[in-house]
């Protein structure tokens, strides 16, 4: 084939490349979006505690000098139930500092649920108006944020945390933040 005839194959090759690109895109989960808030400080907020709990949650709680995990949960959220044992182990066995954001929930439902499922959180803010969740760019529950000692958001995980996520991503990240 002459080089000129090869030129006619160019559109076919371009089409093939595009098809491969789109095919790869089809396999991706469109809900896994990068957070716009990575490396930004946590928003300014002050949330009341759940009824019967001593502490709510505010901006200063998340800039306490040690890295923390902020988990967005709700009593109605089924994946949160699957995630809860993972969070409890993280808190009890690894001593990870965890805070909770009760999202789009009735506070009394959250209290009842935590009483049976267990509470891994040092404190929980009741976001009944969903406004703080919007400030964090939350799409839905569950979501987890890793926040460094200076109160900057360093990582966001959408969906329930699995033991693999914890082993491969969460613990190494927390360790590297602690070392600083």
């Amino acid at each position: 084939m002459t080089p000129r005839k090869l030129l006619y194959l160019l559109p076919l090759l371009a089409f093939g490349a595009l098809t491969a690109w789109f095919a790869a895109g089809l396999g991706r989960d469109p809900h896994l979006l990068p957070s716009a808030l990575i490396d930004k400080p946590v928003p300014q907020f002050e949330l009341p505690p759940l009824p019967g709990y001593a502490h709510g949650l505010n901006t200063a709680d998340l800039a306490s000098g040690e890295p923390q995990l902020l988990n967005v949960f709700a009593s109605w959220c089924l994946p949160c139930r699957a995630e809860q044992p993972v969070l409890l182990r993280l808190a009890r066995e690894q001593g990870v500092a965890m805070r909770g954001l009760d999202y789009r929930d009735r506070p009394e439902d959250a209290v009842a649920w935590l009483a049976t499922a267990g509470n891994p959180f040092r404190s929980i803010g009741a976001d009944t108006e969903n406004r703080v969740a919007i400030d964090f760019g939350v799409y839905g529950a569950p979501e987890s944020f890793i926040i460094d000692g200076q109160g900057r958001i360093r990582y966001k995980h959408v969906g329930p945390l699995t033991p693999e996520d914890v082993r491969q991503t969460i613990l190494p990240l927390l360790a590297s933040l602690k070392g600083r």
């Binding site: 979006l33 716009a36 969903n130 406004r131 919007i134 760019g137």
Partner: protein, 155 residues
Amino acid sequence: MNARLLPALAVLIWSLPALAVLPGEMLSDPALEARAREISQDLRCLVCQNQSIDDSNAPLARDLRLLVRERLKAGDSDQAVVDYVSARYGDFARLKPPFQPNTWLLWLGPLAVALAGAATVAWRLRRRTGAAAPAPPPLSAEESARLARLLDGQE
């Protein structure tokens, strides 16, 4: 037309623009509400992804609609409201992506492809007309003489 049918038809026509926005969410100031509607139509519902928050019944879309109206009431410009949302949810929240370095390909890509196509067509056409009409050979003496006679009207 039937006089009884007319009101029914009017109701039908007027019911068309009603989407997901509930009456309780609307602002009392019609000008502000119109701006809110316009902004909402350009903001993506992050949960359903291919609907605007103006279209969507998702709870997050409702919260964002209320937020848009709250920001407008607080005196924000349209751009400030859109920036407020995209600062939290990223440019993905904007159904009309901004023109910036990482979207140049998106905005200019179709134009570049069209220009490349036009250039290719123009180039090929020029070459083909050049090849199809080579310079004619000069006239022989006999032909020149005949042409001269024709022009003089002698033939």
